[in-house]
Each structure stands twice: as C-alpha cells, then as structure tokens.
C-alpha cells in the first residue's frame, strides 16, 4: 500500500442544476481511495449517489450534472474526466455496466467491438488486434473463443456477454475498472463466475476496481474495502469485515440489518415499519372479519391442500402459428406440488427454470399443455377444467415483479383498487367500494389520501404496497407473488416482506412466493421447492432444506449465493488455498 493509490477521490461534490433555478446536490464530500489490487465497493440504496460517482469518474455524468468541487486523481495524477487529457477512458479506465444484454451494440460482432476498442487506443493493425482480442476472450474465460469472435451479442448468454464486456474494458490494460452493478442482471451461478473473474483481475494484474453495487452479499464476497452511501453522503467507510460486522452509523446498521439472512430465519426483518402501523392493525382485523369464513390455523401437514398441482407440463412455441420447423420448448416438465391452506410456499430457481410459467398457469394467465391443477378440490386447469372466466378467477390473485408497469398510470389509485372490488361484486355501490379501498390502503400502511392520487406519485415500494392492496381487494384465498421485491431496495424489500407476513398472519392468506433470492425464500416460506430446467429438484420444509439440503443442485446454489455470513478475509471458505 506504499505506492500511490490508483484512484483517489477527494471531497467530491456533484450537482445537477435544476431548470427552475437552484441545484440538486447528488453527491457531497465523497472521499475514497483505491490501492493497486484493491476492490473497493460503493454501496447504498437507489438515490444514494453511488452510480453518480462511478459515472463522474468515467466522465459520463448525465447532462446537466457536473463536478462542482473536489478532485479525482488516477495514479497520483489529478484529472478532469470530462476533458480527457493524458488519462483516457477505455485505455486507463475501463468500465463494466449492469446489463450485459444492452451494453453491447446488437448490430456488430464481438470481434469488431473488441477490435475497435483496441485500435482506438493502441497502434495495432487488424491482424494484431484480432489476435489480442482472442487473448482477451481467453483471459476472461470465454468458452470456444475463436468461434465467439464472429458471433453477434444476441448469440451469447448473459454471462458470456458480461465476459465480452469485461474483455472490452480490459482491452488496453487499464489501471482502474469501474464496475457498476456488474452481476445484478445475472443468475447466482454466473454471478459467482463473474465475481471470481473480477477478484482474479485484481489479485493477478493489480487492477484497482471500484465496484458499485446494492448487494451486500457481493460486497462481503469479493471487496476489500467498502464505502456506504446515503443520499449523496458517505455514511461509513473502511475494511469490509469491520464495516459489515460492526457498523457504527445508524444508517449503516439499518441497511445491513435489512439484508435478508440465509443462515437463520427471523420472525420479522429488524427495522422500523414507518407510520400508520396502528391504523394498519385495525384495518387488517376488519379485512379478516369481512373475509369471514376462513379460520387461521397453523399449516398442518395433514390439512387438505388448497392448491394441488399434478404433473404439470407447459410447452412454449408449439402453437399453430409458430411454423413447422420450430420445436416446442418445454418450460415446465412434470411438476407436482401441493400448497396447504395458510402456508407460504416458495418456488426458487435460476432464470429460465420455469417458476414464473408456473405462477402464470396457477393464476390462469396461461393454459398448461398437460397435467391438472386443483384448487380447493375443484379442477381449475387441465383437460377437465371449466374455462376460468370472470368471477371464477377471484380466489387466486397475483402480485407482479415490476411495480412501475403493473399499475395503470392513467387511473387514480382509488379507481385501480376499486376495480376488482366492483368487478367481483364484493360491494353493492361505489360508495361501499370506496370504503373498502380506504380500508385496503390502511391495511398496507399507506396514508388515507392515497386513493385520490395517481401511481406516479408513489415510490417503488409504495407501488408494490398498492399492488398488494389491489390483490387483497378481491378477497382472495391464494396470492401468487412473482418476484415481489426483486426490483426494490433492501430496506423497502424488508418492509414489503414484513407487510406480506403481517397480512398473512392477520387474514390467513395462503401465498405462493416465487423468487430467485434464496435468502428471501428462507425468511418467508414454510415449504420450498427448488426448480431447475422445468423440474422440481428438491421439495422440503424450508428449515430442513436450508439446514440440510439433499440435492446437489440445492447445495450448489446455497454455496454460490454471496452472503453476509461469508466475509472475504474472515473465514476463507471459497478463496482459501
């Protein structure tokens, strides 16, 4: 650490002049240094300013943002990222962005994209650049690199594309790599590979890496040092083990506390739930009274299943119009499971494993190719099923992943929430429905004036509360939650998951929870099914599954998830000799 730091940021202030005068200060007084071979993680929730710092270093601040004061130095030499002089983007500083699906230009081959980067900075002819590109692909662990050179981005998987992106970033042997959420869009197994790759680059080539992320597990796994940011300010900074184990600042403690743990199940996420909790309590009791019939009992093993799925098969692309040559893709291949009344059942797996397809079939959004689904004893999907139209759908409701696109932006919240109530004729008049809406709004912990406003007035977490309220409005018995928190910040995720737990306790709902996040599943579910390529690999009581996984695949998944429990440098499990 005696050498000059690769990156030194000193008292950086970044402003956005607003059109109505005044300025928005996105980052204030940010200071950090990165030594050679160090991975420095910059964490925080959305709006914390972490990405803004990354963009500022790359000279990619969105207009009209600007660096108002402070200094950035690379290898001890101060520079202005907007006026690249001696220090050049792409040569001295490489960048890796979040989404490998959109980082590469779809119209150009991998070779052309790496070669153009090389030739922009180095005096190489085409042949030499090509040879170098091949070396780079090998260095980032691309399988069959010769063949990939002539491929287009869409012909590669997400993980392979991220390797290409990293190869481009490394092309001219930069001193510093700015990686903005490099693994957020990837599955855990691929995430693990990419993280290993980044760690290797730091260890072997002495590259400094500024890792912008929201994922505490990733930080724990590969970073050496961490800076926690909140609303543009640095809250806490230091070695990873120290900051994650013994956070000093209140915000840092709350943030780390909100991360779902995979090692032990807690009753609730340890954090404040905000206002309106008192009202919410009474509103939920009232909701439960209206729902009437069900008694809440602890989910018992011998209870009659509420939902039973038997050898479900779903094919895609087997329709009439898909052409003769195309073969059907079997998304779900003979899946059977049962959900008991009052239980939270989890479906977990990597992308493409068929979990969302199952959610859609259960919710009646898609017809199965084979198999049957029974709900409360009646066949609702399969050969013998009556078509599910109109009120037949009421008992099963759904909550979607993206709270931004799942609420109609042109309808007032009151109208959105009243729609299912009126459609299912759960209220005789609009006034009655409006009263129900007020109750629902309170039950999900939002202020009473919510109904008058439009969805855009709410944050992501609040919108997800509205989605939950809308689902509850139909007085369902089963709610299918498809990745309900994966687009939310951890503290908001903790609130939403607490809310779902509370609602379940208060109203005796049954939940089918679909997630790729094993920690969320552990915190929420009574029983879990692990899926892989359309089949259930293992199905078990949640505690048993996490304590003693039987299937190899489950064990592998659990080992790959970056968690707070395994902090780099503490107990070296994965990187140890």
């Amino acid at each position: 650490m005696s050498a000059a730091p690769i990156l030194a940021i000193d008292a950086l202030r970044i402003e956005y002049p607003l059109s109505e005068g005044g300025t928005l200060v996105a980052v204030e007084g940010a200071t950090l240094t990165i030594a050679p071979g160090e991975i420095h993680a910059l964490v925080g929730e959305s709006g914390a300013g972490k990405t803004t710092i990354g963009n500022a270093v790359l000279g990619l601040l969105e207009k009209p943002g600007r660096i108002a004061s402070g200094a950035i130095a690379l290898d001890g030499k101060p520079f202005d990222p907007t006026k690249p002089g001696d220090i050049r983007l792409g040569r001295d500083i490489g960048a890796v962005f979040q989404d490998p699906m959109t980082s590469l230009n779809p119209l150009f081959t991998i070779e052309s994209q790496i070669v153009e980067t090389l030739r922009a900075h180095l005096p190489l002819d085409r042949r030499a650049a090509r040879a170098r590109a091949l070396d780079l692909l090998r260095a980032v662990g691309m399988p069959e690199p010769e063949r990939r050179l002539s491929a287009y981005p869409h012909q590669l998987s997400g993980g392979q594309r991220q390797r290409v992106v990293i190869a481009c970033a490394l092309a001219c042997e930069p001193r510093l790599l700015v990686a903005d959420e490099p693994t957020t869009a990837l599955d855990v197994s691929i995430q693990a590979q990419i993280l290993d790759l980044l760690r290797g680059l730091a260890d072997e080539r002495g590259i400094g890496i500024l890792l912008v992320t929201h994922n505490m597990g990733v930080v724990a796994q590969i970073a050496d040092t961490v800076t926690i940011m909140h609303r543009g300010h640095v809250v806490e900074s230091g070695p990873v083990a120290q900051v994650l184990r013994r956070p000093q600042a209140d915000y840092a403690r709350a943030l780390i506390g909100a991360v779902p743990r995979i090692d032990v199940r807690l009753d609730r996420f340890p954090m404040l739930d905000g206002v309106n909790q008192g009202n919410a309590e009474t509103a939920r009791t009232e909701l439960r009274r209206r729902a009437g019939t069900q008694e809440i009992a602890a989910p018992a093993a011998d209870a009659v299943p509420l939902l039973s799925v038997e050898s479900l098969v779903v094919d895609y692309g087997a329709g009439l119009l898909s052409g003769r040559g195309s073969r059907a893709f079997r998304a779900v291949d003979g899946v059977s499971f049962e959900i008991r009344p009052g239980e939270v059942f989890g479906l977990v797996g990597e992308s493409g494993c068929g979990k969302t397809t199952i959610a859609n079939v259960v919710a009646g959004l898609r017809k199965p190719t084979g198999g049957t689904i029974r709900f409360d004893g009646k066949v609702i999907a399969g050969e013998a099923a009556a078509p599910r139209v109109g009120r037949a759908r009421r008992a099963i409701q759904m909550i979607f992943q993206d709270p931004y696109s799942s609420l109609n932006a042109r309808m007032r919240v009151g109208h959105i929430l009243a729609e299912p109530i009126l459609f299912y004729e759960l209220a005789r008049t609009r006034a009655e429905a409006a009263a129900d809406v007020d109750l629902l709004v309170q039950a999900v912990g939002l202020p009473p004036e919510t109904a008058q406003r439009f969805p855009h007035a709410f944050s992501g977490g609040q919108r997800q509360r509205l989605s939950i309220a809308r689902a509850l409005g139909a007085r369902p018995r089963l709610i299918v939650c498809d990745e309900p928190t994966s687009s939310l910040d951890v503290s908001v995720q903790a609130q939403i998951l607490n809310l779902l737990k509370d609602l379940r306790d208060a109203t005796g709902l049954t939940l089918l929870l679909i997630s790729h996040d094993l920690a969320v599943i552990r915190q929420m579910c009574d029983r879990v099914a692990v899926m892989r390529s359309g089949q259930i690999v293992e199905m078990e009581e949640s505690e048993t599954l996490f304590a003693a996984p039987k299937a190899d695949y489950t064990r592998q998944l659990l080992a790959l998830v970056p968690t707070l429990e395994r902090i780099r440098g503490e107990a070296d499990i994965r990187h140890g000799g």
Binding site: L89, N105, E116
Partner: protein, 323 residues
C-alpha cells in the same frame, strides 16, 4: 433463410390474390359492361351473344379464374378510351413515374439523413432549430401548393426551369429516360423537389428521434466508456442502429410516392402513371383503373417483401430467427 423467403413470398401471393379480387369486383360494381359496349337498340339476342362471347354468362368464380389467368399472362384488357392494350399504356408511362420517384427518394435521403443527424447531435443549435421549424412547414404544406409556388418562382418569374412535361427523352429499348438530356434533367428538378419535400421531412424527423433514442442507450454509453472517438460513436455505431426504421419507412414511402405521385404529376403535367390514372378516372376507363390498382398493390407487396429482406441483411438478430 430459404424458409423465411418462401414464407414471405407465400404471404405476398395471398395479398396479391386479394387485390386481384377487389380489382375484379370493380368491373362488376360499375355496372353492366355489355350495356356500355353495344348500340342502344341492340336486341336481347345480340346482347346475350356478346355476353357469351365475353364469357360474362359464366359463374362469378369461373370469370374470376379467367381474369386471374389473363392477368398473370400480362393481359389487362383494352382501354375503353383509346382502344389500346392497358399493359402497353402502363409500360409507356412507367419510366416517367419511376424516374421521378427515384429522384425524389435520393433527394430526400441525401438531405434528410444529414439534417436529422444534425438535429439529433446539436439539438439546441441555431441550425437545428431552424431546420426543425422549416421542416414543420414542409410537412404541413400540401403538395399542390408547394408545386404551384415552385412553378411561380422558378418557371414563371425567374424562367429558369420548365413548368411542365418531361423535356426531351431518350429511348433506351422500351425505357424512355430523361436523365440523358439537359432539358430532361431540368424538367425533373421542380417535380422531384415537390414530391421529395414531404418525405424529406419525414426522414429527417425519424432519423432525429431514432438517433436521440440510440444515443441514450447503454451500448452507446459503453462505447463512450471504451474511449472510442465521438465521430465513430455517432456515425458508425449509432447511425447504423438509428437507420433501421428509416429503411422500413423509406421503402414504404417509395410505394406511396409511386402510387400517389398523382397530385405532383397533375400539377406538372408529368406524363407518368398518376396522370394516366387521373385521366382514366375522368373517363371511367375501368380496365386502366383496375390495372393501376393491381399494379399499385403489386408494388406495395414487392416493396414490403424487399424491406423485410433488407432488414434481415442489416440486423443479424433477424437472420438467426429466420434461418
């Protein structure tokens, strides 16, 4: 690729069949053709004989089949007005229209793309604002007004350019071209500007909005982070992505330019297909109208097919799906 091609051609054939049906029905909708052909005092007997000779006593489907057969052989009947085969009439007029449209398209691409790029890269510059404002006028002025204003200025007042006709043409086999004589080229200037104006504005605005979209995409951000030169990012990487929809629109616009050059051709008395059609309408010359309909239909289908194939050439993602 082959399967994709065959599928597209199959679709094209279906569409053409539908167009042919409409065009066939036109004969039946405008009344009894026999009544228009015979003397007023013709007997029922004579009419029936003529009907039989023309095949009009056959069931509709048989008639349609024969109509299709004739059409495929290129026999579109004989013009009522000047008693010449319709196919020959169209062949005579086609070069004039095609040359006009070609000129107009080249003009609109040559000006529209650079202007669109200018507006996208320097949206707040004086030039971009000026271009935007003028383009608004361009897109909202009807063709006949533009044409007349151009005639008044350059033909009547300044006397620089002819106000009507094709000028001298040179016959190259069946094709008569105005590209090879000075008067032919001069005659082409005003009509092609008139015809191009709308398309120019359209292309400019399309390039502008597409380019602005593409420039804010992740892969352009990544290209900047890789330190590529701005020139390469703007003109090689971004422009290629932005031109994708321009291909479609230009293709479709060529179709409508040919089909609806009618107004421009009328204003400039351009001896093209549009003028032929207008004259046919005023004389209820059904065979010419029907042939024109078929021709325009064929044109659109051909252009759409070519555009789809071009897309597959430019966008590698489509190539894979297709093969």
């Amino acid at each position: 690729m082959l399967r994709f091609l065959i599928a597209r051609l199959g679709q094209a054939a279906l569409v053409m069949l539908a167009v042919a049906a409409v065009s066939f029905l036109m004969f039946r909708f405008v009344g009894d053709p026999v009544a228009g052909m015979v003397r007023e005092d013709a007997s029922v007997q004579e009419k029936a004989e003529l009907r039989q000779a023309l095949g009009l006593d056959q069931p509709v489907l048989v008639q349609f089949g024969r109509f299709l057969g004739r059409t495929i052989r290129g026999d579109f009947g004989v013009s009522y007005r000047n008693q010449r085969p319709v196919a020959a009439l169209i062949a005579e007029r086609l070069p004039a229209t095609l040359e006009l449209v070609l000129m107009a398209t080249l003009l609109s691409l040559a000006l529209g793309i650079p202007l669109g790029v200018l507006c996208a890269l320097k949206p707040d510059g004086v030039a971009a604002r000026l271009v935007q404002a003028v383009s608004l006028i361009g897109i909202s002025t009807p063709t006949f007004v533009t044409g007349i204003v151009l005639i008044l200025t350059f033909a009547v007042t300044l006397g620089l350019l002819p106000s009507f006709g094709r000028g001298q043409t040179v016959q190259l086999g069946p094709w008569s071209t105005g590209f090879l004589t000075v008067s032919g080229l001069k005659a082409l200037v005003l009509p092609s500007i008139t015809l191009a104006l709308y398309q120019l504005t359209l292309i400019m605005r399309l390039v502008r909005s597409e380019l602005i979209d593409v420039l804010s995409s992740d892969y352009i951000r990544f290209a900047r982070a890789r330190g590529l030169s701005l020139r390469r990012i703007h003109f090689t990487l971004a422009l290629r992505n932005a031109l994708m929809p321009v291909i479609t629109v230009t293709g479709l616009q060529i179709g409508s330019l040919i089909a609806f050059a009618i107004v421009t051709e009328t204003v400039f008395q351009w001896p093209g297909m549009g003028l032929l059609f207008i004259q046919a309408v005023s004389f209820s010359d059904v065979p010419v109208m029907a042939a024109y309909l078929l021709f325009v239909g064929l044109l659109f289908v051909l252009i759409n097919t070519v555009v789809d194939l071009l897309y597959a050439v430019v966008d590698p993602r489509l190539r894979v799906k297709a093969s």
